[in-house]
Amino acid sequence: MMKELSLHILDLVQNSVSAGASLIEIIIEENLIDDFFKITIKDDGWGMDKDLIEKIRNPFFTTRTTRKVGLGIPLMEAACQRCAGNLTIESEKGIGTIVTAYFKHSHIDRAPLGNMVDTFITVILGKADIDYIYKHKMNDKEFIIDTRQLKQILGLEVSISNPDILAWINEYINDGLGNLMEV
């Protein structure tokens, strides 16, 4: 079991990376009035047919060759089901995949979101040619960061994985999320 939802997110993003995605969106929607916590991972990777979508819910299925179990999706699904929620997968071959994890926000078994800054920095460090959008909604407030916008400012000479740039991204997200959580 993962201690933080942000670790599940990191794990699911790796699936999108393996599916050849070039743009991956991480959308978190928190709503304290309607009491839900929703995580959406959307990619433009190869996508899956219906048969494969069913298979990946099974822990004894994986596309990897080094071992026989694939736990990413089943672990996230179990985490949702513990919290009066569910996990849905929509996918289309050649279009991409949308994984949505739904939790009851106030459920006592819902793991904390944890450190999204660390998750975002880790995914950025993964493959330089993939772009990421992280959108976080809290009731009616919203924070967004889009690596395409950052790369446009940085140009070709400065890499997004440059330590000084990462330090800026770290503070930028921290500030943004801090703003969201203020009442």
Partner: protein, 122 residues
């Protein structure tokens, strides 16, 4: 509050230091980031490695991520590839172990034997 405009200034500052970084064949540090690695604590390990690269200004060190290499029980796993030397595999790594590996092995060239896969299997 950080603004997007600041990024432009940082870009200008870093441009000057970047030319030094090119055409050096350096050390590769690879962290396993599959489900098994992440669940075992690979994220803080990767970020500790990045921190050491930044703090020590290790311009010639490349940090990369890899998937599951089939030894899930030994995760988090960190591999160090130095040019002309054999690969060293470290197992059950934590952020503080990663810090020591960076300082002793990557910077000073001395393998931290006690954290290697060889030592763990004995």
């Amino acid at each position: 509050m950080k603004s997007i405009q600041e990024l432009e200034e940082i870009r200008k500052r870093t441009l000057d230091t970047i030319n030094v970084r090119k055409d050096r064949s350096g050390t590769r540090v690879v962290v396993g980031m599959a489900t098994c690695g992440i669940a075992a604590g690979a994220r803080p390990v990767l970020l500790a490695v990045i921190d050491e690269v930044k703090n020590n200004n290790l311009a010639d060190v490349v940090v990369a991520q890899t998937g599951c290499i089939g030894m899930c029980r030994l995760e988090p796993i960190l591999e160090v590839y130095k040019p002309g030397e054999e690969k060293v595999t470290y197992v059950k790594v934590t952020a503080s172990k990663a810090k020591r590996i960076m300082n002793e092995h990557v910077i000073l060239g001395k393998v931290v034997e006690e954290y290697t896969i060889g030592a763990s299997e004995q």
